[in-house]
């Protein structure tokens, strides 16, 4: 079944979000694609970082995408070839991002074909199944984004073992008792024997 009716997100919103995400990741974004590409500005834009060139095209329907991706690919290759020589490694570092908020046709192998067509330019495809919210747009573009965005700043953790007496005190276990067990473990002494000694001294 072909769902050309589109998903919950408007293609314009998807396009805007993609531009925003790439811009936020230090890409130079050229929204006026029409003057460079023969594609409507409201449906495509170009982005460039120090490694490569990205063409993002958003289609209203899955049918549009299935019919138009080859043309978009040709345009992207053309633009890159116009601006870089074969010796420029950036010339080999292009990405074509094909997006549609519409659901792809069931049993349609085209998505798979596009994904696995590694000729000419690397292609990333996302349909309505992948893009259900604006955050999914960023997720689709993740291969293009710096990894630093994903890493969490891990705070300097205290040793869980050293924290144990305090933590277990919150569970009602005497701090000194737990400390005795931890110390015995660290010093490779029999733990329960040390606990007994501690209890006898109390």
């Amino acid at each position: 079944m072909i769902n050309d009716g589109g998903g919950a997100l408007a293609p314009a919103a998807v396009l805007a979000e993609a531009a925003s995400v790439l811009s936020g990741a230090s890409y130079h974004v050229e929204r006026d694609a029409e003057k460079i590409l023969d594609l409507p500005t409201e449906r495509a834009f170009l982005a460039e970082d120090k490694y490569g060139v990205v063409l993002v095209v958003v289609y209203d329907t899955w049918g549009d995408l299935a019919r138009g991706w080859r043309s978009a690919q040709a345009r992207a290759v053309e633009v890159i070839s116009d601006r870089f020589t074969r010796l420029d490694r950036k010339a080999w570092d292009g990405y074509l991002i094909l997006l549609t908020p519409a659901l792809a046709a069931e049993d349609d192998a085209t998505v798979h074909e596009i994904r696995y067509d590694t000729s000419r330019i690397r292609k990333i495809v996302a349909t309505g199944e992948d893009i259900r919210s604006l955050s999914d747009v960023e997720r689709t573009l993740l291969p293009l984004l710096p990894l630093a965005h994903d890493t969490v700043e891990l705070e300097e953790d205290a040793s869980p073992l050293d924290e144990l007496p305090e933590r277990l005190e919150e569970h009602g276990v005497a701090r000194e008792l737990v400390q005795t067990a931890v110390d015995a473990f660290k010093e490779h002494r029999p733990i329960v024997q040390e606990l007994r000694r501690h209890l006898e001294l109390e």
Binding site: D93, D150, L154, R167, L168, L177, V182, L199
Partner: protein
């Protein structure tokens, strides 16, 4: 950032000769065919830091190259520590059994054990708390820094959920906590086993107290009799009775035994007296019966004379009979001859009568025929006389007489035998009586009256001894009673001691149980804390793993990945799970759903997530040994894109046997602007001394924007 600066390798695995690798680059690409030595470079780094190659566990490690000229291996790895100082770890080995390490830092040199400690202090300090610190370090290193070529998917495929949890705990900082839990659990379990022994000891002590109490209750209080007098009187009587010669004092420790022995002797004597009396009584009864019923002895001399006379008569008669029988035989023979002669004449006469003629047939002479005939007829007609021989009557008389004599003799013999028996019996009784009288202490001539007096005397003695025995028992009771008093005192002391021991053991058991309970309390609470901690830390890196996975995007449907933690039987488990959000499928096991390529991509995602999410990873380096295995083109491109973004955060060391992939890496991981340096080591032409290695720096490209304006 802790990153690699150089590696000097000599005599290690594929490197028989001496090699120096300048690793001071942001990206290091190792390119060359399989077997050219790329993996040996990775192994050299791990071996220098740990002295081990865990993937060779159970096999000869073969750290030393077969072609090492010196027969030894040496690896010197220099890296930069967090403070920017250089640290060089030099490990050497001349045999596979052991290696020596030397660590050089700006602050000093550390060798041997101190060197190993210095390495761990710098790279993985928490390993120092564990019993097998090298194993803990290797685990952290091979799960977060060095992804080994042949173990890419091991973390997903081979490791059990518990092993995975152990690795995750180690990397996320909870390794020592989990080790503490395992140690505490082991310790608590063995403590519980020894509790059984403590309880048994306490129970035994209680039982001992109970037994002593029971014995005390059985001991009676002393009756307070004058035991001294009883003792003295009784022993005097016993002596006078001749039972014993001794007269021991009451104070002797063997008083009870002596009384017992004397009572035994007394009883034996009394029974002997009673047996003698009973024997005398029986004898007297027997004697009386004999007097009344036994026949007296008779004189058999007359009968013997008669027997003798009859015997003479019988002999004479037998001789006469013999003579008469011989005479009768002779007469009978004569009569027989006479009869035979008569019969012969008669037969001849009969024949002659038949043949009588005028003349004699023999002599032919004439004879008186008639007279002859008459004579012959007379002979034929004559019958011989039937007479009995005369001696036969005498024989019969004599036989009758002999039979009479024999009967008389037989009767006389019976009569004589009976008389002899009676006489013999009388003699035997007389002999027996005399002997028994002597046995009873009387003369052979004693009378029944004497025997009667003896019986009375023995009865009196037995009675007296019986009374003495009863008094002896009273003495024994008194002695025992006195002994029990002493026992009571002794048992009271034992009871006090046993009660003390029981109390000590009760307290020991109680303290033992309290310590075990405390261990259980800590264990239960610490398990919860450990779960919370691991859950929190897994939750913290989970988004990172998920986003790295999303960058590689290996599966068109299962686009989400998570790390599921669970706890069973006090042991944690962790399992990578994938989800298909479009179909609402959650928590699916990727192993059953993914292709080999997709599993590899997931494993690399997990590895990179742990590398980037582990703040204190041993080195801020990602070492990927030929990660290309089974990756299809799309996953490969996803990996390369991810690596390009990783190089901003980690030093990358990646090897590949695939020339195309090497070129792709060079292009994608090229330095742009101020990115630093990318270096390529090309391995080829492996010889005995090792591979030919060519080094090239990837040209740095200036930043240039020609499509989209700044």
């Amino acid at each position: 950032m802790r990153r690699l600066l150089s590696a000097e390798i000599q005599g290690f695995r594929a490197f028989g000769g001496e090699y120096t690798f300048d690793l001071d680059a942001d990206v290091v690409i190792l390119s060359g065919p399989n077997g050219s030595g790329k993996t040996s470079l990775f192994d050299a780094i791990l071996w220098s830091l740990s002295g081990q190659l865990p993937r060779f566990t159970g096999r000869d490690s073969q750290a030393i190259s077969l072609y090492s000229p010196s027969g030894s291996a040496r690896v010197a790895v220099t890296f930069e520590d967090d403070a920017g100082h250089q640290m060089t770890v030099i490990r050497t080995a001349s045999s596979e059994d052991r290696s020596d390490v030397l660590v050089q830092t700006p602050t000093g040199r550390f060798d041997g054990g101190a060197g190993d400690v210095k390495i761990l202090e710098t790279l993985w300090p928490s390993a120092l708390l564990t019993k097998d610190s090298v194993a803990a370090f290797c685990m952290a290193f091979t799960r977060s820094v060095y992804l080994q070529q042949d173990l890419v998917r091991e973390f997903i495929e081979s490791d059990s959920e518990e092993e995975r949890f152990t690795v995750m705990s180690e990397l996320l900082g909870a390794g020592r906590l989990n080790e503490f839990l395992r140690e505490l659990e082991r310790d608590r379990n063995s403590w519980s086993r020894t509790r059984t022994e403590r309880a048994r000891e306490a129970s035994e002590a209680e039982l001992r107290v109970s037994q002593i109490r029971t014995r005390l209750e059985r001991l009676r209080q002393s009756a307070g009799q004058d035991i001294e007098k009883l003792w003295k009187d009784w022993w005097g009587d016993v002596r006078s009775f001749g039972v014993t010669e001794s007269e021991p004092t009451l104070a002797t420790t063997e008083a009870a035994r002596l009384v017992n022995d004397a009572l035994g002797a007394l009883l034996a004597q009394r029974r002997a007296v009673e047996r003698r009396r009973d024997g005398a009584q029986e004898f007297l009864r027997e004697w009386s019966e004999r007097i009344q019923s036994a026949p007296s002895a008779t004189d058999v001399s007359q009968a013997r004379r008669e027997q003798q006379e009859l015997s003479v008569q019988l002999e004479r008669s037998r001789k006469e009979l013999s003579a008469a029988q011989e005479a009768a035989a002779r007469e009978r023979e004569r009569l027989t001859q006479q009869h035979e002669t008569h019969e012969e004449l008669r037969s001849l006469a009969t024949l002659a009568l038949r043949h009588l003629g005028e003349r004699c047939p023999v002599c032919e002479q004439k004879y008186p025929v008639d007279e002859t005939r008459r004579r012959l007829e007379q002979l034929v007609a004559e019958t011989p006389p039937e007479e009995q021989p005369a001696p036969m009557a005498q024989v019969e008389d004599l036989a009758r007489r002999i039979a009479t004599l024999e009967r008389s003799l037989a009767a006389l013999a019976v009569e004589l035998a009976e008389a002899e028996r009676v006489n013999s019996d009388a003699r035997a009784w007389s002999e027996s009586r005399a002997r028994r009288l002597e046995e009873l202490g009387l003369t052979r001539q004693a009378t029944p009256a004497d025997l009667d007096r003896l019986i009375a005397e023995l009865s009196l003695r037995a009675h007296t001894m019986s009374e003495l025995y009863s008094r002896g028992e009273a003495v024994a009771l008194s002695v025992a009673s006195a002994s029990e008093a002493a026992q009571r005192a002794e048992l009271q002391e034992q009871l006090a001691s046993a009660q003390h021991v029981a109390e000590e053991r009760r307290r020991a058991l109680s303290a033992h149980e309290a310590a075990g309970d405390a261990a259980t309390t800590i264990l239960d609470a610490a398990r919860i804390a450990a779960r919370e901690l691991v859950d929190a830390r897994v939750n913290r890196i989970e988004p990172l793993v998920e986003r790295i996975y999303a960058r590689m995007d290996p599966h068109p449907l299962f686009t989400d990945v998570s790390l599921g933690t669970s706890y069973r039987g006090g042991h944690g488990r962790v399992q990578p799970l994938v989800a298909d959000p479009a179909a609402g499928l959650k928590n699916q096991d990727p192993y059953t759903l993914f292709s080999s390529s997709q599993l590899n991509a997931l494993a690399v995602s997990l590895f990179l997530g742990l590398n980037l999410g582990t703040r204190e990873a041993p080195l801020q380096v990602v070492m990927l040994d030929d990660p290309l295995q089974s990756l299809d083109d799309v996953n490969l491109l996803g990996l390369v894109d991810t690596l390009r973004r990783t190089k901003a955060l980690r030093q990358l060391v990646v090897s590949t046997h695939d020339r195309r992939f090497a070129n792709l890496l060079q292009r994608k991981l090229r330095p742009v602007g101020d990115d630093g340096r990318s270096r390529v080591f090309s391995f080829s032409d492996w010889t005995e001394s090792g591979p030919v290695v060519e080094t090239d720096d990837v040209r740095t490209e200036p930043e240039q924007f020609r499509v989209a304006a700044a």
